[in-house]
């Protein structure tokens, strides 16, 4: 380079008009542009179905997080004399059943082997967060709780409470497994797309091969292996619970589509002129990826995320329904529906045990899909000014 000395300052700071620029800057700071995110939010807000779905999901997530605070009956408290009690809302609030009133289980060959572990309170083992929420609940509501407005199951456990506790597991599975898929899929797709060429080719062929494997059978196979006693003991030794494995397994399936979507986006973004422009001004590779590629990738990822969560939840429900998913005494919506179906006999239909978990699941899946659709429309730049 011919000139080695650093230019002392930018031309504006040397100019006589510095004062005027300062004033202009103060003025300019007042005017805020409409970013694409704000623009998308404005469009999303016009979509009533998506907004209702968003509201529903927010409320549901809040309730799921704060479940121990709600005046619900203990989800694992078995009141066998009230087994299969139909939904009743009169009175709406009742006092909690004392453990003393509870009769011992009549059925010795109990299908729930972990019954012995259930806490005397009927809440099961809780972490410190849930315990403090529970303490707060006792302080606020005392002994009062909702009556069984969704009925009771074959062991006399309150379905309404179990729906809420199940929501926690179902939502957690949906969210965490999707995040696992997100992390794997985005990194894999981004690497393939950015490197391109032969690496890209090999990486995407691997994805193609994995697509052709019927994953449901693989998952069933894996989970069947995990169900054997030896493996269970081994897992307990290593401190891995079944839910963790479940997250990993489900995440490992759903990353495939994510990788494809992200790779396609990265390939098209890499050839965008603004990426070339960033190279011209000397931006480093890291800067290009994080400042120019990733922010433009985000909208696609968000849309795909909201559409994957319901798939994962449904998959979890499906596996739980087959008895391969969430393990008792944990509950999830799929597991609750499964319990409902198990007790259907020609003589007696316990409709509430199927209908309510199914309804909860269906509503949530609908909401997520509507929200995903709404987000896709809102984040699509071609939908601008609509």
């Amino acid at each position: 380079m011919t000139e080695t000395e650093q230019p002392p300052a930018l031309p504006s700071t040397q100019s006589a008009e510095l004062q005027r620029y300062e004033r202009l800057l103060a003025e300019a700071e007042q005017i805020q542009g409409i970013s694409l995110w704000r623009d998308a939010w404005r469009r999303l807000r016009k979509n009533r179905v998506a907004m209702i779905s968003l509201g529903y999901l927010i409320v549901l997530s809040l309730l799921a997080v704060l479940t121990p605070l709600l005046p619900l009956q203990p989800p694992r408290q078995q009141i066998t004399k009230l087994a299969f009690q139909a939904p009743t809302a009169s009175p709406l609030f009742i006092r909690e059943y004392k453990i003393a009133e509870n009769e011992p289980a009549e059925n010795p060959d109990e299908p729930l082997p972990t019954q012995a572990k259930i806490d005397a309170d009927g809440f099961g083992p809780l972490n410190w967060f849930d315990r403090s929420l529970l303490a707060a609940r006792r302080a606020i509501f005392g002994e009062w709780c909702f009556n069984s407005i969704c009925g009771r199951d074959r062991l006399g456990r309150d379905l309404f409470a179990r729906l809420f506790w199940g929501a926690r597991v179902s939502l957690l599975v949906g969210l965490v497994a999707t995040l696992v898929a997100l992390v794997i899929g985005v990194s894999y797709g981004a690497i393939a797309g950015y490197l391109g060429g032969r690496v890209d080719n090999v990486m995407m062929r691997i994805v193609d091969v994995m697509y052709s494997i019927p994953f449901i059978f693989v998952v069933i196979f894996i989970i069947s292996i995990l169900n054997t006693e030896d493996v269970k003991a081994l897992m307990a030794k290593w401190g891995i619970d079944r839910l963790t494995v479940f997250f990993l397994v489900v995440g490992a399936i759903f990353w495939l589509t994510m990788a494809r979507v992200v790779r396609g986006q990265v390939v098209s973004l890499r050839n965008e002129q603004f990426v070339e422009a960033a190279r011209v001004i000397g931006a480093s590779r890291r800067r290009i990826i994080f400042r120019h590629v990733v922010p433009n990738l985000l909208s696609v990822v968000i849309v795909y995320l909201t559409l994957t969560i319901p798939q994962v939840m449904l998959f979890e429900a499906f596996l739980s329904f087959l008895g391969l998913g969430v393990e008792r005494p944990d509950v999830s919506w799929g597991l609750l529906a499964n319990e409902g179906v198990e007790v259907i006999t020609p003589v007696r239909t316990v409709w509430w045990m199927v209908v309510y978990p199914g309804l909860a699941l269906a509503m949530t899946l609908f909401a997520l899909n509507f929200l995903g659709d709404g987000l896709r429309d809102a984040l699509d730049p071609r939908m601008k000014n609509r």
């Binding site: 930018l10 031309p11 970013s35 002129q273 960033a278 001004i281």
Partner: protein, 352 residues
């Protein structure tokens, strides 16, 4: 061979360069070649080849002047610009910036030179990151080169926005809130942010409305006057190029076929391709336009993946002779260089 003397002679009649002549060109491109290898067909019957996007281009740009590059789509104009900036690595040839070789440098080594040489892009809708504010876009190059403090950079953005005719109050707006012409001004401000000496303009107005084109062209010329910039102006619009350029190079299939001052080229085109190109320019006068003689070329632009032993224009040339297909014509002749055997043959009746 007097191809070297005309450029410097032409520099002298430009107002900026009057008096002393710069000792060396700002940018010197020597026999630049960019070939893209490709492979087609299944593995067992693979057809390999090379697309000769740029095939031996040489020119010089002097401080403060505008060199226009014209040619039809796919003749390698943009690839030339991208190769100069090392966005694609040249296959052969040298690029000198202020006498220093910059061809084939990696991103790291190229970085200091990017302060002197910048680029304006064709599509103002695609060349700005939609997720960044105008202020962030214009200040990014300063940030990369670590010029000034954050606050100073913001002031500088305001100055640049005024310089290119944007309302500086819209500092925090996003590109999609601007019109095409305004966005192109943002692109110009970004290129100016590091105070370059040379700007490569890759069809900067072809995506704009005609009325906006004039505004942007005038802005570029005004900036040249004020800042002493040199431009390589790539376009396919002949009248635009004539208006802004001091010298014009006509490209055909990866080569420069004729290089002259703008007035000279338009008044006395020597190469048959240039003549055909100029005869296609409409005249904004209905009476004259109706009488205009158009020279329609036969055939299509040949594919750049073929190698031509002779003149690549020979297939379509109305003057073609046997010697044209045997060896490539050198860029030479008087009064300005043209790559044509016939035009350079003193015995030829075609010679003008």
């Amino acid at each position: 061979m007097n191809a070297a003397s005309p450029p410097s002679a032409e520099v002298s009649h430009r107002p900026q360069a009057a008096g002393e002549r710069p000792p060396q060109p700002l940018l010197k491109v020597e026999n630049l070649k960019v070939h893209f290898p490709f492979a087609r067909g299944p593995i067992w019957n693979r057809h390999r080849g090379v697309v000769r996007a740029v095939d031996g281009v040489s020119f010089e740009v002097f401080p403060g002047e505008t060199l226009g590059l014209v040619g039809e789509s796919g003749c390698g104009k943009s690839t030339t610009a991208r190769a100069i900036l090392n966005l694609v690595h040249p296959t052969a040839g040298h690029v000198y910036l202020n006498g220093q070789r910059i061809d084939g440098l990696n991103d790291q080594a190229m970085l200091p030179y990017r302060r002197q040489i910048q680029m304006i892009f064709q599509d103002p809708f695609a060349s700005l990151n939609p997720r960044m504010t105008v202020g962030a876009i214009i200040s990014e190059p300063m940030k990369i080169f670590n010029l000034g403090t954050e606050h100073d950079r913001r002031l500088e953005v305001l100055r640049l926005m005024e310089l290119v005719g944007l309302n500086p109050r819209f500092l925090n707006r996003y590109p999609h809130e601007f019109s095409g012409g305004q966005r192109q001004r943002i692109g110009i401000a970004r290129a100016l942010a590091v105070q370059p000496k040379l700007i490569l303009c890759d069809e900067p107005v072809s995506a704009l409305d005609v009325s906006i084109q004039a505004q942007v062209i005038n802005l570029l010329m005004e900036l040249q006057q004020r800042l002493g910039l040199a431009y390589v102006f790539i376009a396919h619009d002949l009248s635009v190029v004539r208006h802004i350029s001091h010298r014009v190079g006509v490209m055909y299939l990866g080569r420069i076929v004729e290089l002259a001052t703008a007035d000279e080229l338009y008044a006395r085109p020597r190469h048959p391709y240039t003549q055909a190109l100029l005869s296609a320019v409409p005249i904004p006068d209905p009476a004259k336009e109706r009488k205009r003689q158009r020279q329609v070329l036969r055939g299509d632009v040949p594919s750049p993946d073929r190698e031509y032993p002779g003149c690549s224009f020979a297939d379509r040339c109305p003057w073609a002779e046997p010697r044209c297909t045997q060896s490539p014509p050198p860029l030479e002749g008087q009064p300005h260089p043209a790559a044509c055997f016939v035009a350079n043959d003193p015995r030829s009746p075609r010679r003008q």
